[in-house]
């Protein structure tokens, strides 16, 4: 049985069908990449799964529960962690406090008014930071971190609620090539240990083709391919959306179109 199953998902903005009848599924422990050119509908698709947007139609089944249209915080409580395309942390807190914040929320401690928060769940937070290699920076203000380190802290935060599914929107955006591979290696290792499924979007084809178990391709809101790296590489439709067919310019040059 799949961890997440998307069925007939659609969303239109005005007249633009940003996501059009998309269906796919993620199995347990699977590392699934969602790729596609700019404007393909990846972010819209992502934002519907994490609750930022409500779909016009279609189902998003987490286990056997339809989470379409639920609030992000409710989806998080069902065991879906996420990281953001533009990583940022709670700027007025230290690194470890950022992770503690997620742990406090997970433990249902948010409305406690008396016990100082600094001591609560600190051990567990340090453990998580150690797993992403950030334990040494635990008590630094998080806004001082380098961008790559912010990404790591974000990962520790995303693991705080022991998710079964991790949504990562462009996890390596804005990073240098070596950092990219390190981060994805770390993610892959952590999710393998825990049996977490991961859905991620990515622009770096290097990362996608070397790490993803399976790849799905979106173009103009539709799912055009679904398969392993070799199958996607050889798919003519995928080649067309990424490299064009060579017909684009001949169409425009046809008589009558030019003034």
């Amino acid at each position: 049985m799949s961890v997440l199953a998307i069925r007939g998902l659609s969303k239109a903005f005005g007249g633009v069908r940003a996501v059009n009848d998309v269906s796919f599924a993620i199995g347990p422990g699977e590392f699934l990449a969602m790729i596609g050119p700019n404007g393909a509908g990846k972010s819209t698709c992502f934002n519907m799964i994490n609750g930022q947007l409500a779909p016009d139609s279609g189902e998003i089944l987490l286990g056997d529960r339809n989470i379409a249209g639920m609030a992000p915080r409710a989806i998080w409580r069902l065991g879906v962690g996420r990281t953001f395309q533009v990583a940022a942390t709670f700027a007025s807190m230290t690194v470890v406090e950022n992770v503690q914040m997620a742990l406090l929320s997970y433990a249902g401690d948010l409305y406690r008014l008396w016990r100082p928060a600094a001591a609560l769940h600190r051990e567990r937070a340090l453990e998580l930071l150690a797993q992403v290699g950030m334990q040494d920076a635990a008590d630094r203000p998080s806004r001082e971190l380098a961008y790559g380190d912010v990404k790591r802290v974000e990962l520790a935060i995303a693991l705080a609620n022991e998710p079964r599914l991790l949504l990562m929107d462009e996890p390596t955006a804005g990073m240098a090539p070596r950092e990219r591979n390190d981060l994805i290696k770390l993610v892959k290792q952590l999710v393998l240990e825990r049996g977490i499924s991961v859905l991620f979007t990515e622009h770096s084809m290097d990362v996608v083709f070397s790490f993803a178990d399976r790849i799905i391709v979106l173009a103009r809101g539709r799912l055009i391919a679904d398969g392993n790296a070799a199958a996607i590489r050889d798919n003519p439709q995928v080649q067309e959306v990424y490299f064009g067919t060579g017909k684009t310019f001949s169409n425009e040059a046809s008589p009558g179109a030019a003034p």
């Binding site: 409580r77 914040m101 928060a117």
Partner: protein, 628 residues
């Protein structure tokens, strides 16, 4: 009442609508382009009336009146340009709050300046030459000048509309309203654009004020009243929309006219005088619009303004040094009654300072860590004060019960208002909280039978032993200490962390399961509740409470206290409140022109110490210790 009478009131309402439109449209244009809420806009309007009065009486005749009105518009436009060049240009990149404070300082300065030039008497201008008579309408007489005003609004609306539509200047204004960074990036000279828009907005306010000269006397109270009206109109119509401004002006003016027209109605034996609810009605319309259409009737959500505020340091538990300092201060305060034996005034001063500390600390709780810039904290102060005072007045409640009820009444109000307020953010939240505070004020002011109206409630004196200054001081000290420690405790607890998480990044907070609105709503309620304690103490300390002490001025005082101390520090509001209350009670009371003095203090603060007193000290401390 008859349909004719209603219709007549409706036409009368249109002439008021024009006045509202002139002041609101300038405010709206200025906000649209510069993203600055010009609190001094009401002052420009007020000065318009005064200047036009001088023209009409000193020169006189057709030229003095009509020429004077045009000249006034130009003069006030020039004043606007000067404000932009000398002050605002320095603070475009400062946090929103500082811009608001700076323009509020101008309100204070202009008020005293007008006072100094024209005196405190109300000045009624001459009738308009050529329009002094009246016309017959539906069997009643309508002054021709009112009819002229009713038409002047739509005419100016049309002129502005086409100017914005077809001229290059108009296109630039519209472009800047949509995205001012983009306009700057395209090489438009923003300095000139901003100055000219500010001058245009100011000139329109001046014109509006000048046109009132034949209708209403020029008074010093006009600035805040006109400002309040303009806010309501702009927010209802949608920031930056001129058609929206006219639409809203008509709605507000008509609702008010309707209230007056309906007059006294009997509801099953209870007589309700609707003409007493004009103020409440106005702010009620605004609150409803903000709740249903948060960006106003014709407004659009604004592009996010890139935040330039300096990020905050993580909060740290009190160092031994700070604890020692707090203990010393507390010890000194306990010792104060002994000193007061020779100067009893010291106790009054001490009580004022401590009440200010509770007020400012509770405001800081939601403003700083909560990121909710409430412009209406006086509401909860007022609810607490009136809650306690009315219990004493109507039920002869003992002081203990009345004081305990104060925070509960404030809590109820904060729960109600906060539920709506947390749905908005930034400027709109500020405006909605202001509207709620005005509703409380107006209800208290106009509901004479229950609250005593403008006279307030008197005879709320504490019972022995608290009728002694020192005993009441110690009571206030105890409650202030508890309030400050409690709020501080909350901030260090998970709740306070969740509140800051919601402020730092609402998106991310929601993504880790935090119900940001709910957390902020509860924080709002807690702050209101604690503020109610300050209100209750205030009523007993003064022996009375009147609408004047819960007016918008008190809300602004609170903002000044918080910013004076430094919004990003936890001890800031305590220091800020103390300094402010001391300044107010000592220096300010010595001079007739204390408003201008306070305005000058605020301007210095905004331009020289943007991180407040405590912020400036801790920056200095960090610099002295060098990089750690």
């Amino acid at each position: 009442m008859t349909l004719d009478a209603l219709l007549f009131q409706a036409i009368n309402g249109l002439s008021s609508a024009s006045g509202l439109f002139f002041i609101a449209v300038g405010l709206s244009l200025i906000f649209g382009v510069t993203r600055i809420i010009n609190l001094a806009h009401g002052s420009l309007y007020m000065m318009g009336t005064y200047i036009a009065y001088s023209f009409a009486t000193k020169i006189g005749g057709v030229i003095g009146f009509w020429g004077g009105i045009l000249a006034t518009a130009i003069i006030v436009g020039c004043i606007g340009a000067l404000i932009e060049i000398l002050l605002l240009r320095r603070i475009y990149r400062a946090p929103e709050l500082f811009q608001l404070l700076a323009t509020f300082a101008l309100v204070l300065v202009f008020n005293d300046m007008t006072h100094w030039i024209w005196g405190s008497e109300d000045l009624l201008g001459p009738r308009a030459p050529g329009l002094a008579g009246s016309v017959e309408l539906l069997g009643r007489r309508l002054p021709s000048y009112d009819l002229f005003l009713a038409l002047a609004g739509p005419v100016v609306l049309l002129i502005l509309h086409f100017t914005l539509k077809v001229t290059r200047f108009g296109r630039l204004i519209r472009a800047a309203t949509q995205d001012r960074e983009m306009v700057g990036a395209l090489g438009v000279n923003q300095a000139v654009l901003f100055t000219s828009v500010f001058a245009l907005g100011a000139a329109l306010a001046g014109l509006g004020g000048a046109l009132q000269v034949a209708r209403e006397p020029a008074t010093l109270a006009t600035d805040l009243i006109a400002l309040g009206d303009a806010f309501v109109v702009v927010v209802v119509g949608g920031m930056g929309s001129i058609t929206g401004a006219y639409l809203a002006a008509v709605i507000i003016a008509e609702v008010k006219a309707l209230c007056i027209g309906i007059g006294v109605v009997n509801f099953g034996g209870i007589a309700v005088n609707f003409s007493k609810f004009t103020l409440v009605a106005e702010f009620l319309v605004m609150a409803i619009v903000l709740i249903v259409r948060p960006y106003g009737l014709l407004g659009k959500p604004q592009g996010a303004v890139r935040s330039v505020a300096e990020p905050e340091e993580p909060i740290r538990a009190a160092t031994p040094m700070l604890k020692l300092l707090a203990a010393v201060v507390l010890g000194l305060l306990l010792f104060l009654p002994v000193l007061a034996q020779s100067s009893p005034y010291l106790m009054i001063l001490g009580i004022d300072v401590l009440i200010a500390v509770i007020f400012a600390t509770s405001l800081h709780f939601i403003m700083g860590p909560g990121g909710m810039h409430s412009f209406g904290h006086a509401a909860y102060f007022g609810l607490g004060a009136y809650g306690a005072a009315l219990l004493v007045k109507w039920l002869a409640a003992p002081m203990g019960i009345a004081l305990a009820a104060a925070p509960l009444v404030a809590l109820a109000g904060a729960l109600l208002f906060g539920w709506f307020a947390v749905r908005l953010s930034g400027v709109y939240l500020a405006m909605l909280t202001l509207a709620f505070a005005q509703i409380v004020w107006a209800a208290v002011f106009q509901w004479e039978g229950f609250t005593g109206g403008s006279n307030g409630v008197i005879g709320v004196w504490p019972k022995p032993p608290f009728d002694q200054g020192w005993a009441f001081f110690l009571l206030t000290l105890a409650l202030a200490t508890i309030a400050v420690l409690l709020l501080r405790r909350f901030l260090f607890a998970p709740f306070g962390y969740a509140m800051r998480a919601g402020r730092d990044s609402p998106l991310r907070a929601e993504a880790i399961g935090i119900d940001v609105k709910r957390i902020h709503w509860l924080a709002f309620a807690i702050a209101g509740c604690i503020c109610g304690v300050a209100g209750g103490l205030f009523a007993f300390a003064k022996g009375s409470i009147s609408p004047e002490s819960i007016h918008v001025g008190r809300s602004i005082d609170g903002l000044v206290m918080v910013l004076l101390g430094g919004i990003q520090t936890l001890t800031g509001p305590i220091v800020g409140a103390s300094v402010f209350a001391l300044l107010q009670d000592t220096i300010m009371r010595q001079t007739e022109y204390w408003r201008a003095l306070l305005g000058a203090v605020i301007l210095v603060l905004v331009l020289a110490f943007p991180s407040g007193i405590v912020g400036a000290f801790s920056n200095l401390w960090r610099r002295l210790r060098g990089p750690s």
